[in-house]
């Protein structure tokens, strides 16, 4: 994963507060201390981040390192529990009106900001105003556009009215709530990024308080004794910023750090290099499905790829199992569509494309690609079938995927040239200008099945995300209906149908969902792997007194 790629992959995961999700929560090592004794306070947890954090007010940031740190400093009204259900955080309870237009939150009464001031509904109103202020440079305004009014009925009751039913209404209140008494002037002046709290001493309501940030070196947090759910067990969290994955691994071997960060190990490290007794003793390894899939995308305005049979042929020609084995050492799962197996919106009964070269040839022939030229390349109307497959630099995995696909398609009689381009240039010159034939990229998916931005035919502008130019009226309809309902059973019907359409059209070849591969020092207890990964209950992690290594009170 490129540094940039990785960072962006991070945001949804953390925006959903609670980290990565996954359905098959196979902890590799089940000795992960449950039960043994009562949790004890103390010790320092040393984590690694590959990128420097860019600030301390996550609402105006976009990198996963900042979200990781921010999620311990701030809280939202709601969050996700181990099974990915939405549960209250700053909100005690909530209620939707029957038409999905009115949402009323009852807030907790015992919450204090890190500076001791009480938290009230007014702060939530302020956060909403800050997000909607056109001068606030935030990337998450869209979540609140459907809101028509937000009102503090009393200090602990918040009333939100929506102009039309919005499926992600509840989830959007997982956003980090900001303190009015500290940040109001900066928001008014449009200088939220320049606020000193973005650099040091941020004020939140979360389980940890800010201690220090040495840019490029480390961030230190300490337990918040007044946290509304009780003081967290680990007394001190040190995030060390270590850009090199190789160095992180050596630090793990020397037991200089307790975790390889939220991103975890690489497949090679996880499968091969970490497989020796000393490592297994010192660390527990976890494996669960990440919210990211890798795909082979086509420019659908290219007449060759506009033909569905060609895309289907390619899907049949790529051996996904072998691909996962090759680039992820098997640590991934085949994707059949843009939803993760095991989540409620996932539809298992869609058309699949098992590896079948004969079928692939048949489909290509039906599309008019029958004869081969002297070089063994398929020709139609005098034009040989050759194209450039592009991907971004700094992501070895994608480069390897491209190479394997190149080989597979060569068997089919299609010539593929690979080009690897630096991310910013790639985005600007090829993706935004739609000047590509085929690409290898990935999509991070949210915890809500709404994927309007990626697939709807109205989202094909240069800055929009339907980069391949997919347009199918029925799919559009399903997306529109799916996001306008707040009843899960109803939405499920729309998204089931949507997945059938996608599988039939195969606008991109869905390749695989990668596994997240975190490791945590074995002295840390209380970790309970779940579909929501491992970090959702970070506050409950602890180190038994005899195993505590650092003397931080």
């Amino acid at each position: 994963m490129s540094r940039l790629g990785l960072r962006h992959l991070g945001w949804l995961l953390v925006l959903a507060l609670g980290g990565c999700g996954g359905e098959a929560d196979s902890a590799v090592d089940r000795a992960t201390g449950q039960a043994a004794g009562k949790p004890t306070y103390g010790d320092t947890f040393i984590d690694a981040l590959t990128g420097n954090i860019s600030g301390l007010i996550p609402n105006v940031l976009t990198d996963s390192a900042s979200f990781e740190v921010g999620s311990l400093i701030y809280s939202g009204l709601v969050t996700r529990d181990k099974d990915l259900n939405i549960v209250g955080e700053l909100a005690e309870s909530w209620e939707f009106s029957r038409n999905c237009l009115d949402l009323t939150f009852k807030l907790r009464r015992n919450v204090r900001w890190h500076d001791g001031r009480p938290f009230t509904a007014d702060d939530v109103v302020f956060t909403y105003e800050a997000m909607m202020n056109p001068k606030t440079p935030t990337a998450y305004r869209e979540d609140f556009r459907a809101v028509s009014t937000v009102e503090a009925v009393d200090p602990y009751t918040l009333h939100v009215r929506y102009a039309k039913p919005y499926a992600k209404a509840l989830q959007s209140w997982a956003t980090w709530i900001l303190p009015r008494h500290v940040l109001e002037t900066y928001v008014k002046e449009g200088r939220l990024r320049e606020a000193p709290q973005n650099r040091s001493d941020p004020i939140g309501t979360g389980p940890y308080r800010f201690k220090e940030w040495k840019p490029g070196e480390k961030v230190v947090l300490v337990a918040n004794p007044d946290y509304f759910e009780g003081r967290p067990y680990l007394s001190r969290i040190v995030y060390r910023i270590i850009p090199s994955q190789a160095t992180i691994f050596l630090e793990l071997k020397a037991q200089g750090i307790d975790s390889a960060g939220p991103a975890g190990l690489t497949a090679l490290q996880f499968k091969r290099q970490a497989e020796f007794p000393a490592f297994r003793k010192a660390y527990n390894k976890y494996q669960y499905q990440d919210n990211v899939y890798t795909y082979l995308g086509f420019n659908l305005s290219d007449p060759r790829f506009a033909d569905r049979r060609v895309r289907q042929a390619f899907a049949h020609a790529i051996n996904k199992r072998e691909l996962i084995e090759g680039v992820r050492l098997g640590l991934g799962r085949e994707a059949t569509g843009p939803y993760k197996p095991g989540t409620w919106a996932y539809n298992p009964n869609v058309r699949t494309y098992p590896y079948d070269m004969a079928k692939a040839r048949e489909l290509l022939a039906a599309a008019g690609w029958r004869t081969k030229n002297a070089d063994g390349i398929l020709v139609k109307d005098g034009q040989p079938f050759e194209f450039v497959l592009r991907t971004n630099q700094g992501n070895d995995e994608r480069r390897k995927v491209a190479e394997i696909i190149q080989a597979s398609l060569k068997d089919l009689g299609v010539k593929v040239d690979i080009q690897v381009i630096e991310w910013a240039s790639f985005l600007k010159e090829y993706i935004k200008k739609r000047r590509f034939e085929a690409i290898i990229l990935g999509w991070g998916i949210g915890l809500d099945p709404d994927q309007f931005e990626v697939w709807h035919s109205s989202k094909t502008g240069p800055d929009d995300l339907n980069r391949i130019g997919y347009a199918n009226p029925e799919a559009d309809e399903m997306l529109e209906k799916g996001r306008a309902s707040c009843i899960e059973a109803e939405r499920k019907k729309y998204y089931d149908r949507f997945q059938e359409i996608l599988a039939e059209d195969e606008p991109i070849v869905f390749l695989y969902f990668r596994d997240a591969l975190p490791v945590v020092s074995s002295r840390v207890r209380g970790i309970a792997p779940s579909p929501n990964g491992i970090r959702y209950n970070f506050n409950e992690w602890y180190v038994p007194r005899p195993l505590q290594r650092y003397t931080a009170g």
Partner: protein
């Protein structure tokens, strides 16, 4: 002398302006803008409104020459601007934070290189083809051929993981605050050992080669012959007459590597997780953080020009011919 220095100083100004102009253009030639950088793989809503606002705020919506002019007018007031990255911090502050550690590492590295390279080079020149010379030649080629990152990893594995003598990365232990004063000093120092060894290794190879070459040329000169003919001891001939002359080109190379002192090495900094100038610059390039890139460039060019000026002035002090030539050209 003084008019000459002044003249050079005045001439340096348009040069500096030229450097910044070219850098500015090159920087903008690279595709992608800071406002484009968001939403790699994650379907964030592409908020055009926000992007336009930022472009306007940063002045990216204006024609390039206007942008450059604005930048120049600010820079002459020593206003380096604020970073485009989301922390929006003043550029100078960001540089100030990173500079000390880079300077420290590079200065120490440079001192070690000089103190080791000069004797090594001198000895292998005066004993050309001796066993010592041959061994150092092998060492030099190994030094040239060894990639930084590989050597770094090997040393980390040996001293950090296997032997456990030295810390692997970073500048301080996570428990630094809780150590006694002297333990703190040792802790910091021990973190610097591996990076300095790695950085020194390659530099030592090339510097000792320069020194050997320079020395070889000098010992063949007539005046060395006459010194010997006078009956001076060999140690005086080499140590006094030859060495001093052989050092001249080395001083030039040293002068030219002054700007490198603040450059920082991206590879070494990334592998050892050292928050120095190299990482700052590379990240700025990735994020198209123009103010940080330009701020960095201005400081490096100032140092380069300054170093050149000082070198030239020193020459003219040492060598009368340069002064005379300067005077003639003025007529």
């Amino acid at each position: 002398m003084l008019p000459y220095a002044l003249r050079r100083l005045v001439l340096a100004l348009p040069l500096l302006l030229g450097i910044t102009l070219i850098s500015f253009c090159l920087m903008h030639l690279a595709p992608g803008e800071p406002t484009d950088m968001g939403s790699a793989d994650i379907p964030t809503q592409s908020d055009k409104e926000m992007r336009d606002r930022l472009r306007q705020e940063w002045g990216l919506d204006k024609p390039l020459h206007v942008q450059y002019w604005n930048w120049v007018t600010r820079i002459v007031q020593l206003d380096f601007g604020r970073s485009f990255s989301p922390d929006a911090r003043p550029v100078l502050q960001k540089i100030r934070e990173r500079l000390p550690i880079t300077l420290l590492l590079n200065l120490v590295e440079m001192m070690i290189i000089v103190t080791l390279a000069i004797p090594i080079g001198a000895v292998s020149a005066t004993r050309q083809y001796s066993k010592f010379d041959k061994i150092t030649t092998v060492f030099v080629f190994v030094g040239f051929a060894t990639p930084d990152f590989w050597l770094a990893l090997m040393l980390m594995i040996l001293f950090g993981v296997q032997l456990g003598w030295l810390p692997i990365s970073g500048l301080r232990s996570p428990t630094w605050e809780y150590l006694s004063f002297w333990r703190q000093q040792w802790d910091f120092f021990s973190h610097l050992i591996l990076p300095i060894v790695v950085a020194t290794f390659g530099g030592l190879a090339s510097f000792s080669r320069y020194m050997r070459q320079s020395m070889l040329e000098v010992v063949r000169q007539d005046y060395i012959q006459s010194a010997r003919a006078k009956g001076l001891a060999e140690s005086v001939v080499i140590g006094k007459h030859a060495l001093r002359n052989a050092l001249l080109p080395i001083v030039t190379i040293l002068g030219l590597s002054l700007p490198g002192l603040i450059g920082g090495s991206v590879i070494i900094e990334s592998i050892f997780a050292i928050p120095g100038m190299g990482q700052l610059m590379v990240q700025a390039v990735w994020e198209r953080d123009y103010p940080v890139m330009m701020g960095n460039l201005v400081i490096v060019s100032l140092l380069t020009l300054g170093a050149n000026l000082v070198a030239d002035l020193t020459y003219s002090l040492v060598d009368p011919r340069i002064r005379v030539a300067a005077r003639r050209s003025r007529r």
